[in-house]
Amino acid sequence: MIQLNGISKVYRTGDVAIHALHSLDLEIGSGEHVAIIGPSGSGKSTLMNIIGCLDVPTSGKYSLDGLVVSSLSDSALARIRNRRIGFVFQSFNLLPRLTALEQVEVPLVYRGVRNRKKVARQALADVGLGKRAHHRPTQLSGGEQQRVAIARAIVGRPSLILADEPTGALDTATSGEIMVIFETLNRDLGITVVFVTHDMEVAHHTRRIVKLRDGQIVSDTKNSPAVGRPAPSAPAVPAVGSPP
């Protein structure tokens, strides 16, 4: 469903051109559970932004669900983000002031859906937060906030969930719970889940690990996920270029 061909991204700051991605090719099939890993500056954030339709490549072709995205207009990209992609961020990125239920409604508002409350309530129940619907972010724990974010990501029934360091701000036990939710979504609902992380423990919950360095893919390996339990505390594979 995700097809990247010769994707390059160049940032220009004054006279200096920074090549964040070098003609990268990547294909992710429908229903896959993939981790994109790499150290800071490897280009994984840029790649996630491009896959998430938040950014467009300088050159190359990106198609999502058979739709060539790299040439679409700003509002067409917004529509794709709204309908086909769910984002989960390290820092949750919930809107202040809104209750959990209202957070989950936001994508539906932009989609112009009626009957939003009911759909949003169901999504919250799916992540086990049915009883906390009227709490604001400040009244929720980190794990609960991330669950709200996940509910918000899945409420529009997207085909792809992009998670950027989804457990980066959580303790080990809570991380495990969140991982289970992602695995369930991937297995039971067939949603494609892509993690972008530098944490090998997180990566080991997926079935495929793509390593990135200096804007290029250095390895692409299958993995047997450690389902339902935290990964061993010592990393099985030395983390590639551990973060500073």
Partner: protein, 423 residues
Amino acid sequence: MNIFDTIPIAIRALAANKMRSMLTMLGIVIGVGAVIALMAAGQGAQKGITDQIRGLGSNLLFIRPGKPEDNPTNSPVGGTVLTLVLADAEAINNPDRYPYIESVASQVFFDATLTAGGESLTASSVTGVTPDYQYTRNHYVESGRFINEDDITRKGLVAVVGANVAEQLFGDVDPIGRTVRLTVGAFRVYFSFSFLVVGVMERKGATATGDEDDLMLIPLPTMQARIPYIRNPKGQSNVHQITIKVTDPDKFGQAKEELSALLRERHGVAKDDFTIRSQEDLVSTVNAVSQTLTVLLGSIAGISLIVGGIGIMNIMLVSVTERTREIGIRKALGARRVDILWQFIVEALVVTMLGGLIGVGGGVLAAKLANGQHLFGRDLYTAVTPFSIIVAFTVSAAIGLFFGIYPAFRASRLNPIEALRHE
């Protein structure tokens, strides 16, 4: 996205910063309130003046000295040359020749200092009149008597005072039978006479030619006999105005034509050296002046509305910066540029329209409270028209739109990636 979905978002965002929203709104409230109140004052003045002019009777003609172009503001003594004399009025008062003339009254205006007991009124209007004044001007005595033919022939030192003059000089005491000292002077030459008060005029209120309640009326010949500079070089007595009551307003055209011919002949001139105006001419002149006044007052108040608008823009720009991350999140969740644009425009509109509504309420209330109040020695009248309410409210909404667009545009153009990274 439905535009109505942005309204609760806007209200929530404004409620999150109540103090700031209130202060921002206050600028618009004051602006709109000022526009409504000041336009009400302008329109009230206009309505008051035109009502008073019409109150004199709808069938009056006024002849004043001076060419029309010399006296564009129609001031009673504003003409450069005093060309009208008492004999002109006598010639006009010829019902056989001009059957449409009902009555004719001449007036001379000047300012004098009036004193009675310990009280003194400077620069009071004194008018020299004839007994026809009451009927012609439709203004009668309340108590005592008016100036009669006997006073005219005797050139008597008697006076009829306006309601305000009576009140200010004599207070609760009945002025009839008491004396008022009149002092008039120029170039260090002063004349001073004592007048016996014989009557008090009914209350009339402010008019186009000043407040008739502030007048003191004395016999015209007395004035001409006592005050030398009223006379012209030929020894004839100038008059400042001849008021003519016509049987039917339809005769105005004919009257203007025939009386102009008579006066030209009498003055031996080819071009008019006088001006004939009807009541309605006066009304339209006054209307033109007071409409200018209303527009001027409204514009001054409008400036404060613009200042309020700048306040809105300022706060909206701050708000966009503060909420950069929120904008990034919304974009990631599928908000298009136009959705973000509308979100911030609607927020600015909610502030200005709510402020506009409160301002309209405040302005109308202020106008109602001020109506009929005595302020700076004058009665203040206000008239709130639906037009001014619509104008003020529309302008406030337009200001919200105008000053809201730029911050909203900035918000909509934010790069979602950078916005998401923003702390």
